[in-house]
């Protein structure tokens, strides 16, 4: 699974993207966020305020209950500000 970070989420995590292999019990966006938060202090800081973070799965906006699986591209970012 490819995970991308943008804006201050990227800054806090410390990388723009990474390949991850979460355990099988991670099945949705919310679960993935909880699991990612445990990867490093940077991840923990980024995901501390889960409500401030939006997600996209395969480049479409996704709600926390959206299913995620091994082949997906999942992105985390603050609410978009427009151009």
């Amino acid at each position: 699974m490819r995970v991308l970070y943008f804006s201050w989420v990227r800054q806090k995590v410390g990388v723009a993207e990474e390949e991850v292999a979460p355990p099988p019990e991670v099945t949705d966006v919310a679960g993935l966020m909880r699991w990612l938060a445990g990867r490093s202090p940077g991840h923990a800081a980024a995901f501390a305020e889960a409500r401030a973070i939006r997600a996209a799965v395969n480049q479409d906006f996704a709600t926390p209950d959206r299913h995620v699986g091994p082949g997906d591209e999942v992105a985390f970012f603050p609410p978009v500000t427009g151009g």
Binding site: F6, S7, A56, Q59, A75, P78, P79, T81, G82, G83
Partner: protein, 158 residues
């Protein structure tokens, strides 16, 4: 109608060349509405850094441009949005909508720029002369501006 032209790029763009490409020698276009968004120097802003999500940003813009073409009788439309570091006075975004009738061109142009300025997948960081930088937060008032398009249908073409 021609398929919408959508580009997200770091380089500057040329509104005159884009307008000529949209007209393209056609004689069924009565007017081209456009909006050129420019970086403002609010509060000592030194630069605006626009981050986008390569792939998703283009797709999202292409989707809204297709929606504009479905809602209004357009002969064509062009959206170009820059990303990266932009200085005050620099153009950021160009929307062009062409139609045989002015109302369709004007309304669809306003629709597109309202969406782009509020809902397009971009994240803005402001850099100030003081050295301070901050991520711009999404504004509630912008949501209102974009939301009005969801209530109203366009007027019937004249």
């Amino acid at each position: 109608m021609t398929a919408p032209r959508v580009r997200v790029q770091e380089a500057p763009f040329d509104p005159a060349a884009e307008t000529a490409a949209l007209l393209g020698g056609r004689t069924d276009i009565g007017g081209i509405a456009s909006f050129l968004g420019v970086c403002r120097a609010d509060d000592g802003l030194e630069a605006m850094v626009l981050e986008h999500y390569p792939g998703m940003t283009e797709r999202a813009i292409a989707r809204i441009a297709a929606e504009a073409c479905a809602r209004w009788p357009l002969a064509g439309c062009t959206v170009i949005h820059r990303h990266g570091r932009l200085r005050p006075g620099e153009p950021i975004v160009l929307v062009l909508t062409a139609s045989s009738h002015r109302a369709a061109a004007l309304e669809s142009c306003a629709f597109l720029i309202d969406w782009l300025k509020t809902r397009a997948p971009f994240w803005k960081r402001e850099e100030f002369a003081s050295g301070e930088t901050r991520w711009v937060e999404a504004k509630a008032e912008d949501e209102v501006s974009a939301a009005r398009w969801e209530e109203s249908r366009p007027a019937a073409p004249a």
